[in-house]
């Protein structure tokens, strides 16, 4: 297939279809409605299931039902809609059935706005639904990357019988870029042993997240925790640029990481030895890699479109051993390369005292601006 100009939300939809998507249930919400609209035409064209549900609550529960049959199923939404889905996500995780969730993050909290943000990091990565569960989270930074990660999302979800979330934002969802969609994979014709598909010639399957007896529930909890450990050991993915000889590193995911890339290149042109680590998996987080990296750096800069949510994970991973600065924009504001470059220059001037939390230092600096 050749490169074509694709809108992010539609590319994600087509990539899912080509990855063998069997059912899509969703609800309109800006800035991801194009995914719903695209699939409302494409899925019936291919004889696959599509329903615009009565709400995100309805949608996630339809996903839950389809996931229990072992079918490749997905939904997409944006921040306020994702909050509505949290109940269903917890149930899906507790029942250990696979699904793919696309969150096209917008400004918040509350109704917020429709501009891009990364404010859902904690909600998605650290589990916004109740209980101990650990979704796998992928963070693309371009339309092509979104496409590439869709097939991986379904594969990981099925491999681990888990939720795999693809965390993007309004700009990636809305932008148009050249992308190549992989060839169409056939839809599955067999179903997993555990699925509820009708007990033909076998013992019945019951898919539930209830375990009234605490000892039995704890067995489930340990299973989920150990699965997270396994995923941490095997599935970390990240991209690194200019880190071989780096004295400083910028850490950013998604659009923030992409903007940082431009700033890093500009900084290199000014002979600042800075590189970029852009996590692709936010869960599992590249803990080991950041830990190792921090041992040979003089300073780190975390760039996000929120108040410093991944920042805390970076600080934990690096064990506060290296002076770390933070720069964030919120509410739908995009950090621009010039701003990030200014932060890199500031970092390169000399490591800052560690007595003040990077978030507090950033809030003070931003007083002049906002």
């Amino acid at each position: 297939m050749t490169k074509q100009l694709w809108k992010g939300n539609e590319a994600v939809a087509e990539a899912a279809v080509c990855a063998g998507l069997q059912a899509y249930f969703g609800y309109p919400i800006t800035p991801q409605t194009e995914t719903l609209e695209y699939l409302s035409k494409r899925m019936p064209e291919l004889g696959r299931a599509f329903v615009q549900a009565e709400s995100e609550l309805g949608a996630i529960n339809m996903v839950y039902g389809a996931a229990c049959t072992g079918a490749r199923v997905m939904t997409s939404s944006s921040s306020p809609g994702i909050s509505l889905m949290m109940e269903g996500l917890s149930y899906i995780a507790g029942t250990e059935v696979p699904m793919v969730l696309v969150d096209v993050v917008r400004g918040g909290p509350g109704l917020g706005n429709i501009a891009p943000s990364q404010g859902d990091y904690n909600q998605i990565v650290h589990g916004g639904g109740h209980g101990d569960y650990f979704p796998i989270v992928l963070a693309p930074a371009s339309v092509q990357e979104s496409v590439d990660l869709m097939a991986l999302a379904f594969d990981l979800a099925e491999k681990y019988r888990a939720i795999c979330a693809v965390l993007t934002d309004g700009s990636i969802g809305q932008m148009m870029e050249p992308a190549e969609i992989p060839p169409m994979k056939p839809v599955r014709t067999t179903y997993p042993d555990w699925a509820a598909t009708g007990a033909v010639g076998r013992e019945r399957n019951i898919l539930t997240s209830i375990q009234l007896e605490p000892p039995l529930e704890e067995v489930v909890n340990f299973r989920l925790a150990r699965r997270k450990q396994e995923i941490q050991a095997r599935e970390v993915r990240f991209k690194e640029y200019y880190l071989d000889d780096a004295e400083f590193a910028v850490v950013g995911f998604g659009s923030a990481g992409r903007v940082a890339m431009t700033a890093v290149r500009a900084a290199r042109a000014e002979d600042i030895k800075v590189g970029l680590l852009r996590p692709i998996t936010l869960n599992p987080f590249p803990v080991k890699e950041l830990d190792e990296l921090s041992k040979r750096l003089e300073g780190m800069l975390v760039i996000e479109m929120n108040s410093g949510q991944m920042l805390d994970d970076v600080l934990l991973a690096t064990q506060f051993r290296v002076p770390t600065a933070f720069y964030g924009r919120m509410g739908g504001m995009m950090p621009l390369p010039d701003e990030v470059l200014a932060e890199i220059r500031e970092l390169a001037k000399g490591p800052k005292m560690q007595d003040v939390h990077p978030r507090d230092r950033w809030l003070k600096r931003m007083e002049a601006l906002v």
Partner: protein, 259 residues
């Protein structure tokens, strides 16, 4: 079990679709009758191996322990949406939800209305016993005016707490609904009629005729503070007048079916 006498033929035995398990329901609770009728219908239609039940949240939360076919468990109120997900992916299976009045008519009102409006080809068994049984007898959307529950201790005051919802009548207004009836489980005659209705509802599904729901007026002896026999009398005297036993929506194609 004692062996039957010679030259006696078997008239009735426990349906195969029920597992050989004692239920956790209170003695005399009509959940058991509803379960049995559903199981009998599934046996008679010979669809056990392609049936998938969607359990809800209420006293029947463990319904899946009592039937010998696949089940999935939905969050409170979401069973119609979950059933939609299953049926859309596996359209040739028999998919039904089993929900109480709190589950379907309170928290789940959005999901049931839209599943019916969409004409989803699923069957809903709706157990109406005028209170929230599992959590100890609180007021439900179906609690009668003046009826005492743990959250309407002085009797349901319609000024403060509003009026009960007649779910069958409500859903029957939707064009997408194909078979909506109310029956009762308070005496043998009505139980027989209830079974016929359940059979017709499942026939609606397998013939692809759309959304079907059977509302079953049911007793809750424990929370009503009555014996099972008294509870059936109370149902007949107090609930039937408010929730009439009638057909509210019948798809024309169903008129030809004899069950």
């Amino acid at each position: 079990m004692a062996t039957p006498q010679l030259n006696m033929e078997l008239v009735y035995e426990r349906p195969e679709a029920l597992t050989d398990t004692a239920t956790h329901y209170c003695p005399g609770c009509t959940h058991g009758i509803a379960h049995r009728l559903v199981a009998e219908v599934i046996d008679e239609m010979n669809v056990r191996e392609r049936t998938i039940g969607v359990a809800s949240v209420g006293c029947s939360v463990f319904a899946y322990n009592y039937f010998d076919f696949d089940w999935v468990q939905s969050p409170h109120g979401r069973a119609p949406a979950m059933a939609t997900g299953v049926k859309r992916v596996l359209p040739d299976r028999v998919v039904f939800t089993y929900q109480g009045d709190g589950d379907m008519a309170s928290i789940g009102m959005g999901e049931i209305v839209h599943a019916a409006a969409r004409g989803e080809n699923i069957t809903v068994i709706f157990i109406n016993n005028a209170n929230y049984g599992m959590t100890g007898g609180q007021m439900a959307p179906t609690t009668l005016p003046g009826m005492k529950t743990t959250t309407s201790p002085n009797g349901r005051d319609v000024e403060q707490m509003g009026y009960p919802i007649r779910a069958a009548e409500l859903l029957a207004t939707l064009d997408g609904a194909s078979y909506i009836v109310r029956r009762s489980l308070h005496d043998p005659k009505n139980i027989r009629l209830a079974k016929k209705a359940i059979r017709t509802a499942f026939e609606t599904q397998v013939r692809g005729l759309g959304f079907s729901m059977v509302e079953l007026l049911s007793t809750c002896p424990t929370n009503w503070n009555m014996t099972p026999v008294e509870a059936q009398k109370w149902l007949e005297e107090k609930m039937v007048p408010y929730f009439p036993i009638k057909d509210f929506k019948i798809h024309p194609a169903l008129a030809e079916i004899k069950v």
